[in-house]
């Protein structure tokens, strides 16, 4: 599970559902996710905020087939109440890295619909 970064079946399903709106969905997701990654970084001191952001991020990344990203968000959301500051920091970093990893994949997918 942890090895899958981006589920290609989810993407083809989304493309089928969204049709012409598919590129817009990818744009929205990338834009939205960028904001959430930044928000997570800023909220390192606030466990509650971390949990809330992780919950939303988990939802959208799940919907967009970013399987490992969604899993990391779930661990952050679930652990926000119990985990130590160090562990939380580590998870935020992992999410940061995972998004950095999938982002080019989505951008690449987005390229297919340029013009």
């Amino acid at each position: 599970m942890a090895e899958i970064h981006l589920d290609p079946d989810v993407l083809s399903g989304l493309q089928e559902v969204m049709e012409g709106e598919y590129p817009k969905l990818l744009d929205t997701f990338l834009d939205d996710s960028q904001k959430r990654v930044e928000a997570l970084r800023k909220a390192r001191d606030d466990a509650k905020a971390l949990g809330r952001i992780a919950h939303s991020f988990k939802g959208s990344s799940g919907n967009l087939g970013a399987v490992r990203l969604a899993e990391l968000c779930r661990r952050l959301e679930d652990g926000s109440a119990q985990l130590t500051r160090v562990d939380l920091d580590e998870l935020v970093d992992e999410i940061d890295q995972e998004f950095a990893l999938v982002r080019p994949l989505y951008e690449h997918e987005r390229q297919r619909f340029q013009l």
């Binding site: 989810v10 989304l14 559902v17 969204m18 709106e21 817009k24 969905l25 929205t28 997701f29 834009d31 939205d32 996710s33 809330r52 919950h55 939303s56 988990k58 939802g59 959208s60 799940g62 919907n63 967009l64 087939g65």
Partner: protein, 572 residues
């Protein structure tokens, strides 16, 4: 998309979701399923949109900025009122506490992320079915409520009409009638009517139609009309009963009829005449001795038999002043206790026996019923009539439209009523109507009718039927007298009663002379008139009454012919 079931009716669906990508994805899916989409990115916006657009279904993210999904759900449910606006929470909340929170806030279902469009479509359809079901239930509930209101309104209106009909007689005005009727007894088919005859006798009817509700009450109208109309015109019980029976037989369906007791109480003659068809036994209560004579049902109810088969035979009982007649409906006897035991006639007898104050009889019966059952039925009717002297003679009830200018003042007419007619026809109402064409006699219609009735029955009973009035000396002889009267009348094949009317104008008004003849043995006028007026004797009362009421009375031909005069002055 094509694999999805087609949407029957497009819905307007509100989506509240703060994640832009999820919102875009979800709204695209739903739009492609054929629905209209409204979008909000926080709870406050969702509530505002709901208020404005009234969508039929809401998809709600739980965690949102400004106002979260729980609070928004609570407010939307409140705004929706009785209508079901399903709210599906968009969440993959896994803790049971959070799921319970969604349900507490009014959530109807959940949709986990990542979204599956097949499941989403199925859930929307399922929720739409529930929504429609609720709408149908509400609509039908309101419809039932409207119908119920309508029925109640109709019943109230009908009751107002019936109350007018049922109480248009003397039931409330007569000082000697006490009755107790549960307020909606009429809608259980109970009917109580009372009215004066032209001679001041009182007719009372206690009826009980089969069935319940409006169908049981509709028959009351025609029955009351016949009762009042014929009583006011001076018809006797037999003819009134025949007319009632024929009318009900004609208009009511076969399974509907009317049990009834019809009474004629005459304070002048100190008798009560009774016909009981299917009602519980009432009683004549002789106050002096405490004896109660049951008024037994001897006939089928009204509206059952054809005119040919109908029996109008009545029973006559003597009554002293102060004696009482008590009638009741089966609601009294059929009051059942918790074990379905009926109150019954025996318990009623015990109440009678224990009753010390006659005026408190109703209260005693009611108390006994309450003790027996604990709650009142709505079809209990009781009536008690006391025989009181000095009932005023009534002027004829109908209002006349003519001014009297054209009334006939110089004429005569003769009738001869022979055996076949005497058996079944009462000519008195017809004669009274004829005489009331004379304006000047209308004020004396009561006296006129009383005198005619007395002289006619003397001619029939003593003249034609040769019955001996001395038989009526005591209660036993009284019963014998009326039994013999019915027997002889049934076998009658000769004899006649002649009635001659002569009207002449006088200087100040007019004079009507009425002569009644019979072909009988006659009687010794001097001797009968010389007898003292004795209240204990049940005979001989009629002649003194006639002498009191008319201007002049003369007998001739050995008592076979009697002549009375009524005079009137100038009309105002």
């Amino acid at each position: 998309m094509s694999s999805l079931a087609p949407v029957l009716e497009p819905l307007t669906i509100l989506i509240a979701e703060d994640s832009a990508a999820d919102l875009l994805l979800l709204s695209t899916i739903i739009r492609r399923q054929g629905h209209q989409v409204l979008t909000a990115t926080n709870g406050a916006q969702a509530v505002e949109l709901f208020t404005r657009e009234r969508p039929q279904l809401v998809l709600m993210d739980a965690l949102m900025p400004v106002m979260d999904g729980f609070e928004a759900a609570r407010r939307i449910k409140q705004l929706a009122g009785e209508a079901l606006v399903p709210i599906i929470f968009l969440t993959s909340l896994r803790e049971s506490e959070a799921l319970a929170q969604c349900l507490d806030a009014g959530g109807d279902d959940f949709l986990p992320k990542p979204y599956n469009q097949l499941i989403l479509a199925a859930k929307i359809n399922a929720m739409d079915r529930l929504r429609r079901l609720q709408a149908t239930v509400l609509q039908q509930r309101d419809q039932i409520a409207r119908h119920h209101d309508y029925l109640l309104h109709e019943q109230r209106a009908a009751k107002a009409v019936f109350d007018k009909v049922a109480h248009s007689g003397c039931i409330n005005a007569a000082p000697n009638i006490r009755y107790l009727q549960s307020p909606y007894a009429l809608f259980n088919g109970d009917l109580l009517l009372a009215a004066y005859t032209p001679s001041g006798d009182m007719h009372v009817l206690l009826g009980d139609f089969t069935g319940h509700g409006l169908p049981a009450a509709v028959g009351a109208m025609p029955l009351a009309e016949v009762f009042y109309g014929m009583t006011a015109k001076g018809y006797g019980l037999a003819q009134t009963l025949r007319e009632m029976n024929a009318k009900l037989k004609r208009i009511l369906p076969v399974d509907m009829f009317c049990c009834a007791t019809l009474l004629c109480l005459s304070a002048q003659r100190r008798v009560v005449e009774v016909w009981n068809g299917g009602m519980p036994e009432g009683y004549v209560h002789e106050v002096a001795t405490g004896k109660r004579t049951p008024l037994v049902s001897r006939h089928l109810p009204l509206g059952v038999l054809s005119a040919q088969a109908f029996d109008d035979g009545t029973e006559v009982w003597p009554m002293a002043l102060g004696d009482r007649v008590f009638l009741l409906s089966d609601g009294v006897l059929d009051t059942a206790d918790a074990n379905d035991q009926l109150f019954g006639a025996e318990r009623l007898q015990q109440v009678f026996a224990a009753n010390r104050e006659p005026d408190r009889l109703f209260e005693d019966i009611e108390r006994a019923l309450a003790a027996f059952r604990g709650q009142a039925r709505d079809d209990v009717s009781m009536v008690e009539i006391t025989l009181q002297a000095g009932q005023p003679l009534r002027a004829a009830e109908p209002v006349y439209a003519d001014s009297g200018q054209s009334c006939p003042l110089d004429w005569s007419v003769s009738f001869e009523f022979r055996a076949q007619t005497l058996k079944s026809y009462n000519p008195l109402p017809y004669l009274l109507q004829l005489l009331l064409e004379i304006h000047g006699l209308r004020g004396q219609s009561g006296a006129l009718y009383s005198v005619m009735a007395e002289l006619y029955s003397n001619a029939l009973e003593h003249g034609v039927l040769e019955l001996d009035s001395r038989l009526k000396r005591d209660a036993q002889g009284f019963a014998d007298y009326y039994r013999q009267r019915n027997e002889r009348l049934g076998q009658l094949n000769s004899g006649y009663v002649r009635v001659h009317v002569q009207v002449v104008p006088t200087a100040t008004g007019g004079k009507m002379t009425l002569r009644i003849e019979d072909r009988g043995p006659g009687f010794d006028v001097e001797q009968v008139l010389a007898r003292p007026m004795d209240v204990d004797r049940l005979s001989g009362r009629g002649l003194s009454l006639v002498r009191q009421l008319s201007s002049d009375v003369r007998w001739s031909d050995g008592g076979r012919s009697v002549c009375v005069e009524f005079c009137w002055g100038a009309l105002a």
